[in-house]
Symmetry: C2
Subunit: 473 residues, 2 copies
């Protein structure tokens, strides 16, 4: 073995075909796989190894980056660099439910990067990966030179058609494919909207509490947030009319307010549309999870009521398929189509052909609609199981909000306990939690944890997780 | 048949599982495939068909968009909508050279969307598609839940390592993987740079003539261009020192000036670096095709001389792999790493995991380096063949610049002929041409065509294309 138990490394071979960084990587990997180095063992710092081997610092860093990227090692700041403590032989993640997990040949050590309760993630264990792999392989085999040129800026035409058809059926939105723009995610969508219809100094109504990236992005573009409170009917539109009637736009999450999960009531929807029409303002509808409602049929989108073309509708594949696809979409009023085409052309040059082609096939062949149906049922079950499990263990310390839909639970902490402090402790223990107070701008929300339930597969799991939280309180 | 020769369509079936737009699409496709409708035949306008069938306009538009997207029909403005005139049974595109073309099962009609001379395209006929398809299928089969979560914002760690290693070997750039940011293309790169280091009102040196999207994007962000002329040594740095010594940045294409193809001389490189260091200005090096030099070894990047951390280096996979990947990268000085991480996080959320994983495998297994080597040789041959072919037919009317590298030829028109008028005529005939005068800001460049040669596979082809151009003069 060329890496000793102390992490010492024997001289490298300058005549080898492999570059130095790769040789170093291979040696550590080998030492870990063979048990010479064990989980938790400390290895030399990049600085020390640089000195020891007389190589460029960048070479050692390249090797360490690769090892860290693949989960073999972890930098622990002052505590130095160690072999990942949670390395274990690779096992299938969670229980395969709708699809059997395809057996694969990959490095046999790799930590699972999904933290329980991580916000925004769909149930990844039950995604039909075999079907997805089959459609992907077919798409890439069918690739012709004409599929390799610059893709259409606004998105693959066939995908835009499918999205328009889907929105009509499932969200009540009537639009032509030319109004649909494929983007690389919600942030890209919002940045694009800001570039087209907003300018520095403009004021925009935001929900308070609300999704933090929206306000961060607008702030970066020197746009002023006008925070509006949320009550049982959603955003309090009347407060906006009082505080900033001439604002240029409003960003809303009408299906399930993010993060409080209330739906925007019909009177509020109409008031918002009326304000936008009379003031030539824009409504940005963030319909991030409108599909997921469990107590009744999903509500039609606000956009479906938009007679005057004031609503820009933002949807995403991150929640109904998976986030690493980096594909989302935006529906704009007809009057804005040309401006969006021009701005999109300026700022980027379309999304990858392959991922778009795979989704198009997935939708066209009916898998998309089926998957959403299945997830709607599964999430209703997982939500109840997670709530019951956490309630049984943590009921004395927390109260869980009743909600009609969404992908997370709101656990309100009793007493004066700080959600931030608890979440910080949870993170140290590998339990992800978002906290309500960090989603607030100026409203004084009680302390609460926001916990995604879609990857909690049973009440027993939820109880176990609850017990881990209890220990930290 | 349910579409008559006149384009009349029989009533649709409301009880069918297929939505209306799909039924309409299928009928037209069937009519075209079976020869009931022929290339050039006129079909009813969406408006007329809407009336005729009593359906929503959006339904008809969805069907027509899909038909147009797949190349079956073309909208011709006032002249109405017709069956695509260039529909023909699908045949392999150009001659397979390094890889045999994989046989595929796709719709049997589809026009070839690659126009001869289209700028910025690599030789798509010789891309190793079989290898690519194999690596892609493997990547997607290996996909685990942890590959489906939000991808690392700055790029797949293993890909950043590979890019850093590649840049060291092939472009002389020493950087750590943490300085490498994966973006979705050159425009995304430039927009990101502008968000981090520039602000509205700043002045930036630009090459004149130069790549139009750079100046359009900066203009959109209210940044003022300071155009600098190009001579035999590249950008005239002395003019910048005179006109705007306190500019915040300079955008340059040192390897082969875009579009004039001259290389930035060493004295100019040093003068530029000196200016940037003394004024704390930034140099944005657009190394879009630095790999492609045919008369000698590729020059090291300007970034390789950057001792004071003033150069932001922009590279892309569009030219060495293919554009529909939508993947590029940016190397930033260490001092800017944190700001880029933050801004990237605000404005987008990373590139797709799949395309990054495929490229990583392609590089790791040596295909990337081999492909570039092969293309370098092939392009030298195609450049000479294209120049010889065009020269022999058009020599009286044009003069071809001698150039050490790049992917296009510059055909300077003799006399006072307008490049714009000729290019417009060429486009009508399906021949793409960029024109030098449109790349100019205020310099008075002679009329010239910019013709990509990478997809012209022989001197004979070039002669035929030359004859088509000759007819238009």
């Amino acid at each position: 073995m060329s890496v000793a138990k102390t992490g010492k490394i024997s001289p490298l071979d300058p005549s080898a075909a492999e570059p130095f960084y790769r040789q170093i990587y291979d040696r550590f990997r080998g030492a870990i796989a063979s048990g010479v180095l064990n989980p938790g063992d400390r290895i030399p710092s990049a600085r020390a190894l640089t000195k020891e081997l007389g190589l460029a610092r960048g070479t050692i860093e390249a090797a360490y980056s690769l090892l860290a990227a693949e989960g073999y090692i972890q930098a622990r700041g002052q505590a130095g660099t160690i072999v990942s403590p949670d390395l274990k032989p690779r096992t299938p993640v969670a229980a395969p439910m709708l699809e059997t997990i395809h057996s694969i040949a990959l490095p046999s050590f790799r930590p699972d990067s999904i933290m329980p309760f991580q916000m925004g993630l769909p149930a990844l264990d039950v995604f039909p990966r075999k079907i997805w792999a089959r459609l992907s392989a077919r798409s890439v085999r069918a690739m012709q030179p004409s599929d390799m040129t610059h893709p259409a800026i606004a998105g693959l035409p066939a995908l835009r058609v499918q999205i328009a058809a889907y929105l009509q059926v499932s969200r009540g939105i009537i639009c032509s494919p030319s109004q649909v723009f494929v983007t690389s995610g919600y942030r890209h969508t919002i940045a694009l909207i800001a570039h087209v219809v907003l300018k520095a100094g403009d004021r925009v109504w935001l929900e308070d509490p609300g999704y933090p990236p929206t306000r961060e992005l607008l702030k970066h573009m020197n746009i002023t947030a006008v925070p509006l409170p949320i009550d049982g009917e959603g955003m309090v539109v009347a407060d906006g009319l009082k505080a900033a009637p001439r604002a240029r736009a409003a960003v809303v999450t009408p299906a399930h307010q993010s993060p409080l999960c209330v739906s925007l009531s019909l009177p509020r929807r109409l008031a918002l549309l009326d304000w936008a029409s009379r003031n030539k303002a824009w409504i940005i509808e963030d319909d991030y999870d409108g599909e997921y409602r469990y107590v009744s049929r999903p509500l039609p989108a606000l956009k479906s009521l938009d007679r005057d073309g004031r609503v820009l509708y933002s949807g995403t594949f991150s929640k109904v398929l998976f986030p690493s696809l980096r594909l989302a979409y935006l529906v704009v009023p007809e009057t804005l189509v040309e401006q969006f085409e021009q701005t999109m052309n300026l700022l980027a040059a379309g999304s990858p052909q392959l991922t778009q082609a795979i989704i198009t096939a997935f939708i066209t062949e009916g898998h998309f609609a089926r998957h959403i149906q299945r997830m709607r049922k599964l999430y209703a079950v997982r939500r109840d199981a997670t709530a019951a499990g956490l309630e049984s263990v943590l009921g004395q310390h927390m109260r869980i909000d009743a909600q009609p839909g969404g992908m997370h639970l709101i656990l309100r902490l009793r007493g004066r306990r700080s959600d931030r402090r608890l979440a910080a402790r949870m993170k140290e223990e590998g339990l992800f939690a978002d906290v309500l107070s960090e989603w607030s701008i100026q409203c004084e929300e009680a302390s609460a944890l926001l916990l995604n339930f879609t990857n909690v597969e049973s009440q027993r799991t939820a109880e176990n997780l609850g017990r881990r939280i209890l220990k930290l309180m």
